[in-house]
């Protein structure tokens, strides 16, 4: 009672204390960024629908060691940003018989590519199948630049894929799985639940049933793809999502599919949907 209705004599010092506290709070508020939206890193994201396989979405960042998280978040510490810089240089460099660069058609990547990477893979009518960002880059090279396609996992293709996807940094993954994409989405889903290899594991055996739980030293992640291509300390390099698929397949002692294969592109769409709404983190850093 007395605190709520201070006497006249106490009011002045009371207000002074309040002012001190308030200005301290304001100072703290100014020093900190605004309260962040959930981004799947420290706060989970709600799944896009009620029948989604995960009750909450977590980026692989959440399961990474603090040093790895810091390495990703510091622009000058993130080793994958070197590939982004290479991609930026390649963007404006003419190549092929047509002597064109990406920039000649697409202009400033920061504008033309903003949000694009977040929607891939997409259904591509001329080929009646899905294409991912890597495929799209090589289509541009062969069709419009009259240049040779870059090999999967080459430095150039990784660099350009990172550069293109980085233009969607922070934007939510937003793939389309209906219409003509549906058939390929279903194939990707079937792949995800199919057991393979001498260990007889499907992707689901680890990433659906046991995410967040310990498997010896490691915490099993949800297997989200929103940070790819990624720098992995195990690789001492950046690598594509398909290279990661290959590593998973070999880990369960299964014969991997070729990088860039339809099987992996279909799986890529299904995985993207499992992380629908997570902000793009390309290029991320993982163990």
């Amino acid at each position: 009672m007395s605190r709520k209705q201070p006497s006249q004599t106490n009011a002045a010092p009371g207000r002074a204390r309040w002012l001190v506290a308030a200005s301290a709070l304001i100072a703290v508020a100014l020093a900190l960024p605004a309260v962040a939206e959930p981004d799947g890193r420290t706060e989970p994201i709600k799944p896009p629908s009620e029948d989604h396989p995960y009750p909450e979405l977590w980026s692989g960042w959440h399961y990474a060691a603090p040093e790895t998280q810091a390495m990703q978040d510091e622009e000058f510490e993130n080793p994958a940003m070197a590939w982004n810089d290479i991609g930026k240089d390649l963007w404006s460099k003419p190549d092929g018989e047509a002597k064109k660069s990406c920039q000649d058609c697409h202009g400033d990547a920061a504008k033309s590519m903003k949000g694009v990477g977040a929607t891939y893979p997409v259904y591509f009518e001329p080929e009646k199948k899905l294409i991912n960002v890597e495929n799209r880059i090589n289509l541009c090279r062969t069709k419009f630049m009259k240049a040779k396609p870059w090999a999967y996992e080459s430095q150039e293709l990784l660099a350009m894929t990172i550069y293109v996807k980085h233009q969607s940094f922070g934007l939510p993954v937003n793939v389309k799985i209906d219409g003509p994409a549906k058939e390929f989405f279903e194939r990707g889903k079937a792949f995800y639940f199919e057991r393979r290899g001498q260990l007889d594991f499907a992707c689901a055996n680890c990433h659906t049933k046991y995410w967040g739980q310990k498997i010896r030293m490691d915490t099993m992640s949800q297997g989200q793809s929103n940070g790819f291509p990624t720098y992995r300390s195990e690789w001492q390099s950046v690598g594509s999502l398909h290279r990661r698929f290959t590593a998973c397949n070999v880990m369960v002692r299964a014969t991997p599919y070729p990088l860039g294969s339809d099987e992996y592109v279909n799986l890529e769409l299904y995985l993207a949907w499992r992380g629908q709404g997570l902000p793009v983190e390309t290029p991320s850093v993982r163990f």
Binding site: F201, Q213, V250
Partner: protein
Amino acid sequence: MGCCLVLAVVTVTAASALVLSADRAGAQEGAPPCSSGETPRVARYKVEKGEILPASIKEPLNGKRGNPEKGVEWMADRRQGNCISCHTVSRILERVKEGDHESEMKYGSHGTIAPPLDGVADRYSEAELRMIVVDAKQAFPDLDTSMPAYHRKDGFNRVLGDCKGLAILSASRVEDIVAFLKTLKEE
């Protein structure tokens, strides 16, 4: 000490070979798991109905009982059973010496995704334990278990070339593990 140095050198060489091959082929990830000769042929065995489980294997796979002490090693070894990546086993955890990194790496960090194995010998007979290690999918046909079959030859999908037709664990190593599991009694 000498042995550890040799081991360390081998590990470093294997790691750089891994990186090199990955860079070269793009499609090659990790060392070929089955070409080292560790992965053995599959023994013949007879499956019979168990006491609780629908399947069990009464006779040791190689005709003789295993060595429980070796069983612990195969259960902890990441390239062998690696059982503790999913199961917690207090008797193996006890081998971790506090502050000793090597013993922590070898015997520590148990997984929590599968049932703890403490007291497992109270729950299943030796013949059932053998069946579970050999092929858990036969032992628990209704569970949709994730547990790999450690001593089965076929019925797999897209097995990596050099692993085809081979078991994850040899008959004698399965017996070593069964011998150790038999000692896990609480009652």
